[in-house]
């Protein structure tokens, strides 16, 4: 029962936590809720069985033994062991069936109306919203918006090594395997920001490969989609205007895209609307002008080994480029 109590306490703790939590015990979508019920059910049963075994163990060891040396009958022992094995078979069968039903309850991602393609890379997430009309397709990074209360199929691909997509509050995880395409059913029942992070060891910065799933009300979601389809905004603030010039003249554009500008690099994340995202560098820092400047100035100290080089900039250029990035809402 200790297991169950601690579990209960941690459930309370998890629910009390802020939104954006990353916990299997704080489920906010149907798939994760199904699994949580299974987790609690199996845990309670297993804890009860464990407790029972411990009671028998204590009794077997400490019971008062008859003073004469008469041995208890082998027959009664055989019956006890036999019934314990039979009980094990029944419990195991029950748990197996419960597991199958949970899988069925979650359903298949293939039936979802909306598909988002996530492509894992060392160490960030490329997110593609495809549309039959290429002009309406767009790409973003490390932040996935989904409409609340709707099944979403996340198609999972990898550009390099094996990664694993895991947003525990919404669903279990699924690997991104090079050369294969997997998919996962994602669903949020209420608006919120749900954090996830890579669960399969993928190299030096596996630790810093997080993403945010933002569940929007349908109207907000449509607004977000419409905004993301736009090209990068033309800066008006003088710093940002200078920043755009610097951005395009420096090596930045070789790796990054800002739609509507000559910057069309594809090695790094698409920056068209980076200012609108909650975090930069795959969940490493909150997006502010200061954090952008810190990141651009020295990405290798903040996230050692990541693929963004340190580009030599003057302090004015750094300030201007950060301002430009922040303006890309």
């Amino acid at each position: 029962m200790r297991t169950a109590r601690i579990l209960q306490l941690s459930i309370i703790a998890a629910v009390a936590g802020c939104s954006g939590n990353q916990s299997a015990l704080d489920p906010q979508g149907a798939p994760a809720i199904h699994v949580e019920h299974l987790i609690i059910g199996i845990t309670v049963i297993c804890a009860a069985v464990w407790l029972l075994v411990m009671i028998v163990l204590g009794w077997a060891l400490l019971r008062k033994r008859p003073s004469d040396s008469s041995q208890p009958g082998e027959r009664s022992l055989t019956i006890s062991v036999g019934s314990a094995v039979a009980a094990t078979v029944i419990i195991i069968t029950g748990l197996t069936i419960a597991s199958f039903y949970t899988t069925r309850g979650i359903g298949l991602p293939e039936n979802a109306a909306l598909t988002i393609t996530v492509r894992g890379q060392q160490w960030w997430w490329q997110v593609n919203y495809a549309d039959p009309d290429p002009a309406l397709s767009f790409q973003t990074a490390n932040e996935i918006h989904i409409p609340v209360g709707q099944d979403v199929r996340v198609q999972l691909e990898s550009a390099d090594v094996v990664h694993s997509f895991w947003v525990p509050s919404l669903a279990g995880k699924q690997d991104l395997v090079p050369g294969r395409s997997n998919s996962l059913l994602l669903r949020a029942e209420r608006p919120g920001i749900y954090r996830g992070q890579c669960a399969e060891f993928c190299g030096l910065q596996h630790t810093h490969m997080a993403m945010m799933v933002v569940a929007d009300k349908p109207a907000d979601y449509e607004r977000w989609i419409a905004a993301q389809r736009q090209n990068g905004v033309m800066p008006t603030d003088p710093d940002a205007v200078a920043g755009k010039v610097a951005f395009l003249s420096k090596p930045c554009a070789a790796c990054h895209t800002v739609r509507g500008t000559p910057a069309t690099g594809t090695t790094g994340p698409d920056l068209t609307h980076i200012g609108s995202r909650k975090t930069i560098a795959a969940g490493l820092l909150e997006t502010t002008r200061g954090s952008l400047a810190a990141w651009i100035a020295d990405p290798q100290t903040l996230k050692p080994g990541n693929n963004m080089p340190m580009v030599p900039l003057t302090s004015v250029e750094l300030r201007d480029i950060s301002a430009y990035m922040e303006s890309l809402k």
Binding site: I39, E74, V85, L95, K173, R180, E200
Partner: protein
Amino acid sequence: MTIREDGQNLRDTGLGEIELDHRLSATWSTPSGLWGALSSVDHKIIGRRYIVTAFVFLALGGLLAMAMRLQLSQPEARFIGPDRYNQIFTMHGTNMMFLFAVPVMEAMAVYLVPLMVGTRNIAFPRLNAFSYWMYLAGGLLLWIAFAVDTGPDIGWFAYVPLSGPQYAAGKRADIWAQMITFTEVSALAVAVEIVVTVFKQRAPGMSLDRIPLFVWSMLVTSFLIILAMPAIMIASSTLILDRLVGTHFFNPAEGGDVLLWQHLFWFFGHPEVYIIFLPAVGMVSTIVATFTRRPVFGYLAMVMALVATGVLAFGLWVHHMFVAGLPRLGESFFTASSMAIAIPAGLQIFCWLATMWAGRPVFRTPFLFVIGFMVIFVIGGMTGVMVASVPFDTQVHDTYFVVAHFHYVLVGGAVFPLLGAIYYWFPKITGRMMSETLGRWVFGLIFTGFNLTFFPMHILGLQGMPRRIYTYQPEMPWSGLNMFVSLSAVILAAGFLLFFIDAIRSSATGATAPANPWGASTLEWATSSPPPPYNFARLPVVGSLEPLSNNPETLPVASGLSVDRRELIVSSVVEALPEARESSPDNSIWPLWSALATTVLLIWSIFTPWAVVWGSIPVSIALIGWFWPKGTPEDDA
């Protein structure tokens, strides 16, 4: 009976005890000095070496664990950088699995199985010596590489493509893969020796239903090794080929397959768990029988459970790949099979409980470790049932929940019985008792420290903490538990430290042990502590499952073996009827030269494939020396 005048082929039949000991010692002992030590083929000397080496690796692996706990004790700590951290957790896993857990179990078998089946040496004793040197070389390769910052950083599972030529530059991954080759060779060698020893060298009368349960467990384990190791051998060899000569076994761009690696790895990797666990089951059965003063209840059921576990072990590997995107029907099958293995495991637990209930428990240190094993391993089994469920697993796979789970299984299920086994067999191996007082402290510290360290990890995993991360952000709700875990790990480490102190101190100054200090009933206690080089002055004849339980003073013996050359009895597989007097090889330095030559070949081949060609020349020379005919007479049937 013939005693020839020239002293050749003198039989033991008519000799008195003192002369017998004198002559057998001359025939079987290992010469003193360095040369003698290096050329010894005595299973006890090699077994002792193996055990000590494995425990050194345990201590080193434990230090790595403490380093990780230091780094994770608080968010965004900067004690260890990502590159070193990745090496550390890779080293910890690789070291504990390949250099500690599997070898230590085999080491215990190398020492104990020949004694328990009543023979004078293990089968293929020179192969045994070779196996140890290979193991030592593999361990040194890995640790020297780590010391010079070239330790593998790809996880103990080395998933491609991260371990492949494109993403793992340098030699780190090659060192991992080649270390696998070393430990494979040594593990396979020991497995073959155990199988042959158990099948063909049992004491006369030790029919299949009189084999001690520990020996049964090692027999099943050895078959698991023989069947599972080829998969990892193929995996590591093809990885080296991909890296070294540009094949594309695992490169999807050229028609290779990433999941092929995972299948090969886990087809080995899951039975690996049972390769570690089954010997521990045998240890538990042995200790339970001795300390409840009765045989283990349900001998046949226990043997069947061992065999069933061994067979089922090969039908579970996909549960390590439940989130890799395999077809659902296949996943369902592996859920059912993974759940099913709880049945033989449960059966064994119930048989031990029945034995404890029916017996008269004596609470000495080895038995305390068995009780600790029951408490912890059952939790590990329960969480094993949990991760066998696909939907459950999708939430906890690759999180700290799984870290907690397999430490409960491997530490609870294997290290606790092993520590109990060390306290139990220490007097036999060293001739001295370990301290009962310190033993209780060791048990208390390790039991408490272990649970406080690993139980909270279940919760951390459910709260979303993935494995193999070198730090976490302060916003995540994991700081408190991580600090708690790190502090608890200090208690656990203190327990192990005390264990090492007790073992080292007792081996020098412990109370002298009689031949059978625990009143046990298996054959290894029929000879002195420590056993003489020839194990038994006269080979015992076995008439029951517990040959020492009735009249320990009057064990029947077989006679007629030569005393001036190494001879032992070969017996039939089922009934152990004596079939022949087989000669057993003398000491030889050639296994060491062979191991050195093989080591040069394997390490050289990390750098150029031509090493396989040129390196095979010294290996051939060493093998010719090893097998050069000695003119020993043919065996007598």
